[in-house]
C-alpha cells in the first residue's frame, strides 16, 4: 500500500547507522502526523457514535426519572405490552416487503435501462432518480396530500376505472400499504442506479460466450448476470434493510403512528415514548431492540464489501 514506506524499508536495510535512525524517526513522525490527522474523525466516531451508543444502553436501564438503575425492567415491560409487538410486526413487515419490492422494481428498471441505446440512457436515468433526490420528508408531504381523505387525487384516478374510494390513511392495513408505497417510490431509484452500475461492469464477452452456447435470455440472466451481480445485490439489499428498518421520516409525516398506534415502526415508537411522552429510558430501550437485527445486517454488508474489494484488487 504505502509505497513510500517500502522505499524507506529498503533504504534502511542498505544504509547503516545514523541514516537508518533518521529514517526511523521520519517513519515515526509520519505515523504521528497521520494519527493527528485522523483525530477529528476519531472524535466524531467515538464522541458522537460509540459513546452515545453505549450511553444509550446505560440509559435504557434506568427508571423513568433516571434516578435509579433498574436493569432490564424497561425491556421486560416492553416485551409484555401488546403495542410493542404491533410495532415489531409492523417494522418487520414494512422493511421486508418494501425492500423486496424496491429490489425487484430496481432490478427490472435497471435491466430495461440497460437495453435501450447508451445515448438515451442518461436522460431516462436522470428522470427516474428524481424521487431519490427530493428530501424524503418533503416528498412524503406531497404523498400525504395525495392520500388526503377528502381531496385524494389517487382516489380520483381510481374512480376513473370505477374503483371504490380507498381510506388510505384511515384504515391500518391501507395505511401500511401507503407507507410501503411511499418508501418503494423513494428507494427503488437507488436500487436501479446500483444495479445499472453493476450490470455495466459485467464483461460483454461472457454474454457472447453464452450466446454462442445457445443460452436463452432467461439462462443468460440466471447463469451470467445474477452470479456476476450477486455480491452487489446482497450488499444493496442488506444496506437497504438497515435503512428501511430504521426509517422514521415516512411514518412521522404520513400517519404519525396512527390509526390506533398500528403503523408505528421502532423509530417512530421510540420517538413517541422517549421524546414526546418523556420516558427517555424506555424510548432508548425501544430503539435498542433494533440493534441485534442491524448488527447482523451490518456484519454481512461489511463482509460483502470486503470481499468485493478483494475481487477488485
Amino acid at each position: 500500500m504505502a509505497a513510500d514506506g517500502t522505499i524507506a524499508v529498503r533504504d534502511a536495510a542498505e544504509i547503516t547507522g545514523g541514516r537508518a535512525n533518521s529514517l526511523q524517526r521520519f517513519a515515526r513522525r509520519r505515523s504521528t502526523i497521520a494519527f493527528v490527522m485522523t483525530l477529528p474523525l476519531l472524535a466524531v466516531i467515538v464522541g458522537l457514535v460509540a459513546y452515545p451508543a453505549l450511553f444509550g444502553i446505560y440509559l435504557s436501564m434506568l427508571n423513568r426519572r433516571m434516578t435509579e438503575f433498574v436493569g432490564f425492567l424497561n425491556y421486560e415491560i416492553l416485551i409484555e405490552s401488546e403495542t410493542f409487538w404491533n410495532v415489531f410486526f409492523q417494522s418487520c413487515f414494512f422493511a421486508i416487503t418494501a425492500v423486496l419490492l424496491k429490489a425487484l422494481i430496481g432490478f427490472w428498471l435497471a435491466h430495461m435501462l440497460h437495453h435501450i441505446p447508451n445515448n438515451k440512457q442518461r436522460k431516462w436515468r436522470g428522470m427516474l432518480l428524481v424521487p431519490w433526490v427530493i428530501p424524503p420528508a418533503l416528498s412524503t408531504l406531497g404523498w400525504w396530500w395525495m392520500f388526503d381523505p377528502s381531496y385524494s387525487s389517487i382516489n380520483w384516478l381510481l374512480s376513473i376505472v370505477s374503483v371504490p374510494e380507498v381510506p388510505w390513511l384511515g384504515h391500518h392495513w391501507w395505511a401500511r400499504i401507503a407507507i410501503i408505497m411511499v418508501n418503494v417510490w423513494i428507494g427503488a431509484p437507488f436500487f436501479m442506479i446500483m444495479y445499472l452500475a453493476a450490470l455495466k461492469s459485467v464483461p460483454e464477452q461472457l454474454y457472447e460466450a453464452a450466446a454462442i452456447d445457445g443460452a436463452t435470455s432467461w439462462q443468460r440472466l440466471r447463469y451470467v448476470t445474477l452470479p456476476m451481480m450477486a455480491n452487489i445485490i446482497s450488499i444493496t439489499v442488506l444496506f437497504s434493510l438497515i435503512v428501511t428498518f430504521a426509517n422514521y421520516d415516512i411514518v412521522r409525516v404520513l400517519t404519525n403512528g396512527g390509526p390506533r398506534d398500528l403503523t408505528h415502526v421502532f423509530a417512530s415508537y421510540a420517538f413517541q415514548v422517549g421524546i414526546l411522552s418523556g420516558n427517555i429510558p424506555r424510548g432508548a430501550a425501544v430503539s435498542l431492540f433494533m440493534l441485534p437485527f442491524l448488527a447482523v445486517c451490518a456484519f454481512f454488508v461489511l463482509r460483502g464489501v470486503v470481499r468485493r474489494n478483494k475481487e477488485q484488487m
Partner: protein
C-alpha cells in the same frame, strides 16, 4: 454483428437471425413501455405538488373535476410563502447548518482519508473498517442518547446543536469514499513528490486534492444533500420554530396552521426541495458517482 456475418455463409440459420431481430425489437418495446410507466409514477407526486402549489385556495377546495390540472394558474402561494418570515427563517437556518456541516465534514474526512489511505499507522486498517461500520449505524438508534448529550451541553433548540450532531450522518460515508478515491491515485505520484522534497501538507494540497477532485465533489454533494434532508435530529432536538431547518419547519409549522393552506404547504415543500434538485440537475454524474461509490469503490 457477428451473427449477420455468419448468415452470409450459412443461409440455413437466416431464419433464426430474423427471429433474433424481432426478439430484440420486442425487448426494446418492453423497455420503453416499462420506463414510461415508471417515469409517470415516479414523477406524479412532484408534479401533483407543483399543480397544487399553482392553484388558488378556492380551486383546491372545489372538489369538482380533475385535481391533476390547474385551471387558473397563480403564483400567489409562492409570494405568500416567500414573504412568510417563518419560512425565511427556516431557509436561513438550513443554509447556515448545511454550510457549516459540509465544511466541517470535508475537512475532517479529507484529512482522515489521506492519513488512512497513504500513511499506515497502528490500527489504521481497523479504523477504516470502523468508519464503514459507523456509516451503517442509523440515526434513529442514536437520537435518544444524543438528545440527552446535546441537552447536557445546553444545545437543544439551537441550530448549533444540529451542527454538532449532523457530522455523524455525513463524515463516515464521506471518509469512506475519499479513502477509495485517494487509494486509487498512483503511488508514483507521491513518490515523485517525496523525491522532490514535498512535505505531507504540500502533497495533500498539491497532488491529492486536485487529482481526487471528482471524488471530493461527489462527497461534498453527498454531505450537502444529507444535511439538507436530515429529519430525525431536527425533529427531536428543535421545538422552537425560529431555530428549525426547512425539513421539519415545513412539515410541522406550515401544516400546523389552523386551516390547511395546501397551496402554500406544497409551494414551501417544493422550494425547500429545490436546492438538492438543482445540484442534482447540474452535477448528475458526480451525484451518481457518489451514490454508487459506497459499494463499488473504497
Amino acid at each position: 454483428m457477428s451473427a449477420t456475418a455468419a448468415n452470409r455463409d450459412l443461409p440455413g440459420i437466416y431464419h433464426k437471425a430474423g427471429s433474433l431481430r424481432a426478439e430484440r425489437r420486442w425487448a426494446m418495446w418492453t423497455a420503453y413501455a416499462s420506463l414510461i410507466v415508471a417515469a409517470v409514477i415516479f414523477m406524479a407526486p412532484p408534479f401533483y405538488m407543483l399543480v397544487t402549489s399553482l392553484k388558488t385556495s378556492g380551486e383546491i377546495a372545489g372538489m369538482a373535476g380533475n385535481p391533476w390540472i390547474v385551471r387558473e394558474p397563480t403564483l400567489e402561494n409562492y409570494w405568500a410563502i416567500i414573504e412568510n418570515p417563518l419560512f425565511r427563517g427556516f431557509m436561513l437556518n438550513s443554509i447556515i447548518i448545511t454550510a457549516c456541516v459540509v465544511a466541517v465534514t470535508m475537512v475532517i474526512s479529507i484529512l482522515a482519508a489521506f492519513a488512512l489511505a497513504r500513511m499506515r499507522f497502528w490500527g489504521s486498517q481497523m479504523l477504516a473498517t470502523g468508519v464503514f461500520l459507523t456509516y451503517l449505524v442509523p440515526d434513529t438508534l442514536l437520537f435518544i442518547p444524543l438528545y440527552q448529550i446535546v441537552g447536557g451541553l445546553g444545545l437543544l433548540n439551537s441550530i448549533w446543536g444540529l451542527v454538532l450532531v449532523y457530522p455523524t450522518l455525513t463524515v463516515p460515508f464521506c471518509t469512506w469514499i475519499m479513502i477509495g478515491y485517494f487509494a486509487s491515485i498512483p503511488k508514483e505520484l507521491d513518490e515523485a513528490a517525496l523525491i522532490d522534497g514535498a512535505t505531507w501538507p504540500q502533497m495533500l494540497l498539491k497532488i491529492f486534492i486536485p487529482v481526487a477532485l471528482p471524488g471530493i465533489i461527489a462527497a461534498t454533494i453527498f454531505a450537502f444533500t444529507v444535511s439538507w434532508a436530515a429529519f430525525v435530529y431536527p425533529t427531536a432536538f428543535v421545538t422552537t420554530p425560529d431555530q428549525m431547518p426547512l425539513t421539519i419547519g415545513v412539515v410541522s409549522q406550515l401544516v400546523r396552521a389552523d386551516t390547511f393552506a395546501w397551496g402554500q404547504i406544497m409551494a414551501g415543500a417544493l422550494m425547500a426541495a429545490l436546492p438538492p434538485v438543482i445540484i442534482y440537475a447540474f452535477l448528475m454524474d458526480y451525484y451518481i458517482a457518489g451514490l454508487t461509490a459506497g459499494a463499488t469503490k473504497g
